[in-house]
């Protein structure tokens, strides 16, 4: 218990230090010395609860249409059959990844779009995504969906959740 608490303090300190020097931009010339920088335990030492409900990525505002765009729904279903349904069910049952039922209630449209298209960064930085990884233990493969494809999949998810 003691150890964990220290780790948490250290990792928070490291986080602050990083924020102080402008993030981890490549080529910023930052150097870490072994005496001051503790190991990065961000994946195991507890989570911060300040996650952005929109996730991390370029999607900040995803407009939704009512009623649903049925052409997008069809396209989203086709894409999902090839690229998603190996690991996800349309019910609330976990297969490899979580079931899709209710996903549009649990997550913002932006979070879903960012997760689909920016999966590696989301798994590294977004606490909600990391919590899912701890449960599933398989990183979601980056299936390289285009923005339009991801949007179509979102529309299919909305349909699956009975939205209109």
């Amino acid at each position: 218990m003691m150890n964990l608490r220290y780790l948490l303090i250290f990792s928070l300190a490291a986080l602050l230090a990083l924020a102080g020097c402008g993030g981890n931009q490549e080529g910023s010339g930052q150097e870490t010395s072994s005496a001051e920088a503790p190991a990065d335990n961000s994946l195991v030492a507890g989570k911060t609860d300040n996650a952005d409900p929109k996730g991390i990525g370029k999607f900040r505002d995803v407009p939704l249409t009512h009623p649903l765009d049925e052409a997008m729904v069809v396209k989203g279903r086709e894409i999902s059959d090839v690229k998603c349904m190996s690991c996800h069910k349309l019910t609330d049952q976990k297969l490899v990844g979580p079931g899709w039922k209710g996903v549009t209630d649990r997550r913002t449209p932006e979070w879903i779009m960012n997760f689909i298209t920016n999966v590696d960064e989301m798994l590294e930085k977004d606490s909600e995504a990391q919590a899912m990884l701890e449960l599933c233990m398989v990183r979601m493969p980056n299936q390289n969906l285009t923005d339009e494809e991801a949007r179509a999949v979102l529309e299919f998810m909305r349909k699956n959740d009975g939205k209109n």
């Binding site: 190996s86 049952q93 390289n144």
Partner: protein
């Protein structure tokens, strides 16, 4: 004094150090010699980046074992899963490497392969008729108009049976120079024409460039036309020849209808990027040209003594001959050759082909350069670098005044050497790499055979400096190198699953199935982190031909999946993201056959497995397959 201490100076390591996470400056493509592959090293680090199987089967990725690539190794003599890969040529535009393709020769069963540098896969292999050892190959013209394939062994044309004696050799045996044309857009190769030369051994070759564009030069030995103990009998004459072929003239003769069609049979194997499958085609005709009849197409230049390399400098004006047994290096002038031909400065004919006077074509000789000159490359600053097999050294000399400028020892017995771009109009320079045949005393002993090696020297300054040596795979024969930036950005990272046109693709798990057609069973299977679908298959019988068509559903860089099944007698599959590969399996006994993913893919990689149930022949076990139908998955979404 030749020693490691004297050869290496203090800053050598720093000049080859490439920090973790940093890229090398150059890709170095090195032929694998008798292992039939091509290996790719980073320079200056000497790190092995990739093995590309071309003419040999490769269990690591199933090349030549899976159904898609088996056709690549088909020849008119059946499936030939091995070859002796000697030389490489990068495609060129305007006399510079353009980073599109790499051509490779097979010396034993005469073939030429083309490797696509977007995928680093062998894209095409063409067999060569009327050839007996494709050694002077695959050298290339300055716009990749032609890839050359000159025969090392003279053989009877048409390969009819013939007595083995000198009289029969002189009468029946011929050498051929095949000109393989390359489609500008697709890279597809076809044997455009063959020039039938007198029986002798064509050794190496170079295309002219700049002013000499339109010519090809071949070195040759055994112009004595002996059929036995060539070590002695092919060293009788003081001079052999460099064969100068005017291929523009050959094209004119073909246009004028002077070519003769000859019935032959050879294979052309092409790999399709969308079906991920190769197909073979048999070609039954070749166009031939006879220089005895078509007089002004081929000329011979006398060259001392059993020449090996014949290398053209970046300006295209000088042709450097390298007599394996000569104590000098003759350098010929293209302008002088043309003048000699115009002046008819001939010393006679050889089997009906004019022989130019030696002095009339000679620019000059490099005197006492070393022992056993083999190959020459150029740095673009007027300097030439020649490898010396017998005296184990690289010698730098000036092309203009033929003066020796510097020499460095090699460890040991250097064959080819390579300056990046040293065979082009614009050498990149900076380094020369020695490719060594023998490595005594260089590495820790590993039994009777030691790793062969390459050695990297800096040529930036006036004096060459040894920087690094590194072990290589197979015999590092010739090599090519190109700046990484010409290739890196075009590299394919995964195959688009939506463009997968494989006839047995499964576009998603929904499409997976098992189909029986008589005793042939097709399994449409998918792989994704971390399961195979289906993972349980029943209803297979002993003697069935089971084809596992596995589609990798990943769309992420560097996530191949493997597939192996117990007791399969061929190999595994290694399926790139978005690709479909097929493994054929014919079970010989009833039982349970586990299968699994062979390439570590995720935390649950070990769980990526399944079973094939094989029943006795005639069994009534129904065909059945599935994944995950037994257990209900735990809900997590409501978390």
């Amino acid at each position: 004094m030749k020693s490691t201490e004297s050869a290496v100076s203090g800053d050598a390591a720093a000049k080859t150090y490439v920090a973790p996470g940093k890229y090398d400056e150059l890709y170095n493509f090195v032929s694998g010699g008798f292992n039939g592959q091509v290996s790719v090293y980073g320079l200056p680090s000497g790190r092995l980046l990739k093995l590309i199987p071309v003419f040999s089967v490769h269990p690591e990725n199933g090349y030549g074992f899976n159904e898609e690539t088996k056709p690549m190794l088909q020849t008119s003599y059946g499936f030939v899963p091995w070859d002796d890969q000697h030389h490489l040529a990068l495609s060129q535009t305007n006399g510079e490497h353009d980073g599109r393709w790499l051509f490779a020769n097979a010396n034993n069963t005469p073939r030429v392969g083309r490797i696509d540098l977007k995928t680093f896969k062998t894209a095409e292999i063409i067999e060569l008729p009327n050839s007996g050892g494709n050694h002077s190959s695959p050298f290339i013209t300055e716009n990749t108009e032609y890839v050359i394939a000159g025969t090392r062994f003279a053989i009877p044309v048409g390969n009819q049976e013939s007595p083995l004696d000198n009289a029969s050799f002189k009468k029946n045996f011929k050498s051929t120079a095949s000109f393989i044309s390359v489609d500008k857009n697709t890279g597809h190769m076809s044997v455009s024409f063959q020039i039938i030369l007198p029986g002798m051994d064509l050794d190496l070759s170079r295309a002219g460039k700049g002013p000499s564009h339109g010519w090809f030069f071949f070195s040759t030995y055994n112009t004595e036309q002996a059929s036995t103990l060539l070590e002695v009998n092919a060293s009788q004459k003081d001079k052999d020849f460099i064969v100068a072929v005017n291929w523009k003239k050959a094209e004119e003769y073909i246009k004028a209808g002077k070519g003769k069609k000859m019935p032959v049979e050879y294979y052309h194997n092409v790999y399709d990027e969308e079906t991920h499958s190769a197909t073979s085609r048999i070609i039954k005709e070749v166009l031939t040209l006879d220089p005895e009849e078509l007089k002004d197409m081929v000329y011979l230049i006398p060259c001392p003594k059993s020449p090996h390399g014949c290398d053209v400098d970046p300006s295209g004006e000088f042709i450097v001959g390298s007599g394996k047994l000569a104590a000098l290096i003759p350098v010929f002038s293209y302008q002088k050759l043309i003048k000699a031909i115009d002046d008819k400065a001939f010393e006679g004919e050889y089997n009906g082909i004019p022989v130019v006077k030696y002095e009339a074509a000679l620019h000059g000789e490099v005197q006492k350069p070393g022992l056993g000159p083999l190959h020459t490359e150029f740095d673009g600053k007027g300097n030439a670098y020649t490898s010396f097999f017998v005296s184990s050294e690289i010698v730098k000399w000036s092309v203009k005044d033929l003066k020796v400028l510097d020499r460095v020892p090699t460890y040991y017995s250097i064959g080819h050497l390579m300056v990046p771009g040293g065979d082009t109009k614009k050498p990149y320079g900076k380094y020369v790499v020695a490719y060594n045949k023998i490595t005594k005393d260089r590495y820790l002993p590993t039994g009777p055979e030691l790793a062969q090696s390459a050695q990297l020297y800096s040529i930036d300054g006036d004096k060459m400096q040894l920087l690094l040596d590194f072990p290589t795979i197979g015999e590092p024969h010739y090599a090519q190198a190109i700046p990484a930036e010409k290739i890196r950005e075009q590299s394919v990272k995964f195959f688009d699953i939506n463009k997968n046109k494989h006839p047995y693709v499964s576009l998603g798990e929904k499409a997976t199935k098992v189909v029986r057609e008589g005793n042939v069973v097709h399994v449409y299977m998918t792989a994704i982190r971390s399961h195979l679908t289906p993972d349980n298959i029943e209803g297979i019988q002993v003697g069935d031909e089971v084809y596992f068509h596995v589609t990798n559903l990943e769309q992420d860089w560097d996530i191949p999946h493997g597939f192996a099944i117990k007791h399969a007698p061929n190999a595994e599959l290694l399926i790139m993201p978005g690709e479909t590969n097929t493994l054929k399996f014919v079970p010989v006994k009833p039982g349970i056959y586990p299968f699994y993913c062979t390439d570590f893919c995720s935390a649950l990689h070990q769980e990526m497995q399944g079973y094939l149930r094989v029943s006795p022949k005639g069994s009534n076990v129904p065909l059945k397959w599935g994944t995950g139908e037994e257990e209900a998955a735990a809900p997590v979404a409501a978390r």
